[in-house]
């Protein structure tokens, strides 16, 4: 399993945010972490990216235990945060170069990877533009290109389509699905929007810090549309 989460618990003081969360995602699988606001998705992402340390349970990324071998695990992890993390005063290429260097890549090797990643995301001709001048969709593409530079085995995206218009959202969702199929990267895509999930995707339904359901989307929803299933399980409307 590329991503393995076992019996994860976390609380802020007396408030429990995650309670015995377990799931696994296989290689090349697109998994949607679906949950209403406040379900614990952000806490889970903070734990997966080691901004928090687990209080109970374990996380394994590409077979590296996050607590025992954090640097090896982080080297195999690509992250697209919910907030933009681009330096707006730098160009797209400068942003990517900075990230490449944080992962130990420099010179021609870094430039080749940057060119390839930008080309893949259709951003090649914008390499010299400042991030500030990009629209929301292009900023996101830049961040995804950046997250793929070091060829991670697992890619985490925390509500990456927030604030984007419908066609851009659909384009990004399609792109990440293609990426899974073509490169074998494992994707965990946090969202509260059911239209971003396909029947063949794995769905991990998180609600009030617990996993309510985990399985193939088509199997879980049965004959019902996904929003109806989601509403029935969580009591939340989409």
């Amino acid at each position: 399993m590329s991503l393995l989460v076992s019996d994860l618990s976390f609380s802020y003081g007396s408030k429990t945010a995650l309670d015995g969360v377990s799931f696994s995602v296989g290689r090349g699988q697109f998994a949607a972490l679906l949950g209403p606001n406040g379900a614990g998705k952000s806490t889970l992402f903070s734990l997966l990216t080691r901004l928090f340390v687990t209080q109970g349970g374990a996380i394994s990324i590409a077979r590296h235990d996050l607590a025992a071998a954090p640097l090896a695990a982080m080297a195999d992890l690509g992250v697209v945060f919910q907030q933009t993390t681009l330096d707006l005063d730098l160009t797209v290429r400068q942003n990517l170069r900075y990230f490449a260097a944080l992962h130990g890549m420099s010179g021609r090797d870094a430039d080749q990877r940057i060119d390839a990643a930008l080309h893949r995301l259709g951003m090649a001709e914008r390499a010299g533009e400042k991030a500030r001048g990009l629209n929301g969709g292009h900023r996101r593409r830049t961040e995804i290109a950046r997250a793929l530079l070091h060829k991670p085995k697992v890619l985490l995206l925390d509500e990456p389509t927030v604030g984007l218009d419908a066609p851009t959202r659909a384009g990004l969702t399609q792109h990440i699905h293609d990426l899974c199929a073509e490169t074998g990267v494992t994707v965990l895509w946090a969202t509260h929007l059911t239209d971003e999930v396909r029947d063949t995707d794995q769905v991990i339904l998180l609600h009030r810090g617990r996993v309510l359901a985990d399985g193939r989307c088509g199997d879980l929803r049965g004959d019902r549309p996904l929003p109806a299933y989601f509403a029935q399980m969580t009591g939340a409307t989409v």
Partner: protein, 263 residues
């Protein structure tokens, strides 16, 4: 090791690029000490009588006396400014990007600190150059000898900023840092008046000033500018740097979960 050095270079370079993009920050950093030097010092020259005390061999003007203190002021404000930018970075998320790099957190923080210290030192030299234009000159070798003192002082104050930034949750709280850290540190030091002068008015204030790490950073710079080493100041500044750095690493320890708010 190669990976760590590549990352360090990139972090330092990013700090430099950010600085270049904020021209008004550079001007503010230069104007502030110059106002003190050219206006405040001129006014106080008559009021304050300075006797000869090491490292000075002759009577000196008040302008000459406060030059090391103003070098320290640049390091102090810059150290705090970079901590402000860290809080901003954290709110903007780019600190997350840095901290998810597969390198030890202490190394990443140290690289950030080194970057901001280099920027501070460039500003100090720009200030010393302008002071020289106004005929406030120092021994020629002093300009070189002061470099290690500026590095250590810059690292100390940068580490303090880093440590503070890990404990400040929001940008708004930064005004408190101005009032409760920067001003007391600056005024309760030997930057503007010699400590023996302070002792004349209050023994207690003198003792507080004498235990202020900023005083020792300023004295280290003062002696270095005259190509001398103040051993006591060196020990104090080194110790304070180690303590502040340890605090910063502790503050950014993921186990303490200071990095994110509830999600």
């Amino acid at each position: 090791m190669r990976h760590a050095l590549i990352a360090m270079r990139a972090i330092v370079l990013r700090e430099a690029l950010r600085f270049v993009h904020q021209r008004e920050r550079f001007i503010a950093a230069l104007v502030r000490p110059l106002v003190w030097l050219l206006v405040f010092a001129a006014g106080f020259r008559a009021a304050l009588g300075l006797s000869i005390s090491p490292p000075y061999q002759t009577y000196i003007t008040y302008e000459t006396y406060i030059v090391p203190g103003l070098c320290g002021m640049i390091l102090l404000f810059n150290g705090m400014q970079s901590s402000l930018s860290l809080v901003y970075d954290r709110e903007m998320g780019s600190m997350r990007l840095l901290l998810t790099a597969p390198l030890s957190r202490a190394w990443l923080l140290f690289s950030k600190l080194l970057g901001s210290t280099i920027i501070s030192i460039l500003q100090v030299y720009a200030f010393l150059f302008v002071a020289w234009l106004f005929d406030i000159t120092l021994p020629g070798w002093g300009y070189l000898a002061v470099l290690p003192a500026l590095v250590l002082g810059g690292l100390m104050l940068g580490a303090l900023g880093l440590a503070l930034s890990s404990f400040i949750k929001q940008l708004e709280n930064f005004a408190g840092v101005m009032n409760f850290v920067i001003f007391p540190m600056f005024f309760l030091s030997s930057a503007l008046y010699p400590l023996w002068k302070m002792a004349e008015s209050s023994e207690l204030l003198h003792d507080i000033c004498a235990s202020n790490p900023f005083t020792h950073a300023v004295e280290l710079i003062r002696f270095a500018l005259y190509v001398e080493v103040n051993g006591m100041a060196l020990v104090w500044t080194t110790l304070a740097t180690a303590v502040f750095m340890a605090l910063a690493v502790w503050g950014y320890d993921p186990a303490r979960g200071m990095m994110t708010r509830k999600g």
